[in-house]
């Protein structure tokens, strides 16, 4: 038991001792599972309202104009419920439920906890469509990086090609997309392109679709981000290809392999491992650049937190935003580490 605890504290060796890591993960998961079962139910939370508030709620049932706003959020192991009435003598009550108990959350630690739960819930985009909050950020980053790596490989091969025309075209593309701000590129794709060619991004979707505007903006963002990361990935791929020693080309040539075969079977597979760390870096940059979509009305983590800040005048809102970004980054860094390890098998 003592050694087990020692291993737990010894964070440096966690990677080697995956067993221990898994134990920790499973333990945390088990605790969360228990806590989530103990979590007070929605009806319990809603029943907490004071007598005064109950009265208002009862009145609301019959009147068409509601005076009380009820918010209920459930986040993994903790839940949050707030009642607030509008009008001359407005009152508001907040409650946090945790481990079978319900706490009042109007002041101090309770208030802070309640805020965190509420904000995190909204930033994760729980209950909303997939183009909302953290889900939007994730989708946008992942898909545009996939586009970027594919496009980057093509551009890199073009840039090192012996055909001067192809090489020039690819270099110019990279020069253009690395030399202009991503936000302007986003504006050009979202505003200028439809204006010039006479269409609107929302037209891509059915007229009855009430999400058409957001979906259209998402497609535009995807294109802008994909084209942009293509330029950065091209340089990463090119550097990786050119870092493979000349002898590999010579050996392949002496065996009668064509340029295409050499690239496909010898050079690119070897460059993948060298690409992983800089691509991971680019991924993390892209994840944070994704916050620029606030400019075209998409609701990502950053947009939501800014909206909450202005509407509720609460500056705590940026704390859960930081944590969410950190968790996403940590997750992808871990994935890229695993990929790198897989490809370093032969070294």
């Amino acid at each position: 038991m003592k050694t087990f605890l020692k291993e737990l504290i010894d964070i440096k060796n966690w990677k080697k001792k995956t067993k221990v890591t898994w134990c920790v993960v499973l333990a945390v998961f088990a605790v969360c599972l228990v806590l989530s079962f103990l979590k007070p139910s929605e009806s319990d939370m809603k029943a907490q309202a004071s007598a005064e508030m109950q009265e208002l709620l009862k009145k609301d049932e019959t009147s068409s104009r509601k005076r009380v706003t009820v918010t209920y959020n459930s986040l993994f192991v903790i839940n949050y419920c707030s009642f607030s009435s509008s009008g001359a003598n407005a009152i508001s009550e907040k409650y946090v439920g945790f481990a079978g108990k319900i706490f009042k959350a109007d002041t101090g630690v309770g208030k802070f906890t309640g805020q965190m739960v509420n904000y995190t819930y909204r930033m994760l985009g729980s209950g909303e469509n997939i183009l909302h909050g953290a889900k939007l950020t994730l989708f946008l980053t992942t898909i545009s990086m996939v586009i970027g790596v594919a496009l980057g490989t093509v551009l890199a091969l073009g840039k090192i090609s012996k055909n001067k025309v192809i090489s020039k075209i690819c270099s110019s593309y990279i020069f253009f997309f690395r030399g202009t701000p991503l936000m302007i590129q986003l504006f050009v794709v979202y505003f200028t392109v439809p204006a010039v060619f006479g269409f609107a991004w929302r037209d891509l979707f059915a007229a009855g679709d009430d999400q058409a505007v957001y979906k259209g903006a998402f497609i535009a963002a995807l294109i802008a981000y994909g084209l942009n990361s293509g330029a950065y990935c091209a340089e990463i791929v090119r550097a990786a290809i050119q870092s493979i020693e000349k002898g590999q080309h010579e050996a392949a040539k002496a065996l009668g392999m064509s340029y295409g075969q050499t690239m496909k079977m010898i050079i690119l597979p070897q460059s993948v491992r060298r690409m992983v760390p800089p691509v991971c870096n680019e991924f993390v940059m892209m994840l944070k650049d994704a916050s620029l979509v606030f400019a075209i009305s998409l609701m990502d983590i950053t947009t939501i937190s800014k909206n909450i800040m202005t509407s509720e005048v609460s500056y705590n809102v940026f704390l859960p935003a930081l944590v969410i970004y950190l968790i996403i980054t940590a997750f992808f860094t871990w994935i890229f580490d695993a990929i790198e390890k897989k490809f370093s098998l032969y070294e």
Partner: protein, 258 residues
Amino acid sequence: MAQNEYILETEHVSKRFGDLVVLKDINLQVKKGEVICIIGPSGAGKSTYLRSLNQLETITSGKIFIKGRLFLHREKDHTVERIDKETQKALLLEMGMCFQRFNLFPHKTVLQNIMLAPIEVKHEDKETVKKEALELLKKVGLYDKANEFPNHLSGGQQQRVAIARALAMKPEIMLFDEPTSALDPELVGDVLQVMKDLANEGMTMLVVTHEMGFAKEVADRVLFMADGIIAEEGTPDHIFNHPENPRTQSFLRSVLNV
């Protein structure tokens, strides 16, 4: 053109990098089964000559014939006679090459290294190729390393795999570019043994080497190259025991510490 008796022939091969002349008008005829060792000081153009034979270096001018057929003809840095791609590739594959730094493909196992070119370039049947590859590995004494990655092997083992990889293409000529120069002294022996076996089987070999012992023992003919020309050539006995050219004499004196 009656070059048929020679498996490899070069006429007036020259190469220059700008003003620097690397090869000056080299003529060589190689008979089938001949083992030729090329010795000489560094910078003499030994490696460049060997590499220009299979087009890793582009020659400035000259003709190269393989098995009596024109493989390359260039004058003043331009190809004079165009040889159709199929023929040229077929002739290129008659030459197998081993490099000083092995140049094995590190992301493929030993077996995959050997099997890759026969399958992808010659489109041979996979099962047959595998059988032959394992046979070759047995020959170079590395049968048990078939599924290792090259970087997990010693230098000597890697070079033997490289030889097996070149042999898998069934070349008629083997080119060795300082095959033992990057090896620890104690690992040289195994590689040389494999090369000796190959020579005894009647393989035509061109070996750029600093292993004078090997040249003495195995070579049919030794070429001494200096300053881009073949300064002297002859039997090992002639070159090592009765060299005529003063350059050869001084080179051998410094190498053999006589």
